[in-house]
Amino acid sequence: MSATTVDATSAAHPTEAHHTSTGLSNEKLGMWVFLGSECLLFGGLITTFLFYREKEPLKGPAIGDLYDIPYTSVSSFVLLMSSLTMVLAVSAIKRHDQRNTRVWLFTTALLGASFVAGQVYEFTIFYREGLGYTTNLQGSAFYTLTGFHGVHVSLGIVMLLSAVVLSLRGRMGPERAETVEIIGLYWHFVDVVWIVIFTVVYLIP
């Protein structure tokens, strides 16, 4: 057990019992409303991609011919495992384990960065194969969808690293467990969006 782990029975569930009209944390509810609206954003982008995928490209390669499924599978697995490290960070801060909170938050950011780096590499390969952003409709829809997702992951990394820095400065104590939980909600959402993209965009022909 870490030396920083202290009595946590009183703070194991710091988000329960809020003095709000719903009895729930407004911050947490706000994040869920935001995530609900994000479903519409990604729903629209996925729909656009599905429409344009059906159309034969007038020039340049078809997107389906460029996929490297084994490579993308590894990227997907990395992002999936980052959800595990994120939930372990939330678990650690709830039991006042500051050291492990930082370790898991940083590991999550590192896994997320690996995913984004993989995505940049994939884009580079596609570009070298002749598929630029404006080459054809398939390419535009693909880059817009996966690019938007990549930006979301990048924003998540900024949130995670900010939390690590605040923790190192002693400003992310157990009383801020809900903040880490809310960052976690965002991170898991980014993961579930990729679960859909990986299946619908890459695996279903």
Binding site: M1, L29, S83, L84, L88, I195
Partner: protein, 104 residues
């Protein structure tokens, strides 16, 4: 001082999963992902689409339910999130219908 085991036990009593449970869930997610990737190498014919969709929904539900704590939190959070998903699917169906009927 409360030990990690006692905290995990307390969590369990509150219905929240322990770290060990989370690791088990991640293993299940990893196995489903491996099965998804396997469909790329095995010819499932017409079953490919439905099989992949089922596995996708399973992974989505597991992450949302366990990692995002929807199983344990207020139903209001679930309703808000599901509303977004239903609206997104509605957008897809509306666009699909529009293009089917109004495309030249």
């Amino acid at each position: 001082m409360t030990t990690t085991h006692e905290v995990e036990h307390a969590d369990h009593e509150h219905g929240h999963p322990t770290d060990r449970t989370y690791i088990g869930i991640a293993l299940v997610l990893g196995l489903i992902t491996a099965a998804e990737v396997a469909t790329y190498y095995v010819d499932l014919g017409a079953l490919l689409g439905p099989v992949l969709i089922v596995m996708m929904i399973a992974k989505f539900s597991i992450v949302a339910g366990w990692f995002m704590h929807l199983r344990f939190d207020s139903n209001l959070f679930t309703r808000v999130f599901v509303s977004g998903i239903v609206l997104a699917i509605g957008v897809y169906l509306a666009a699909l219908t529009s293009f089917h009927y109004f495309s030249s």
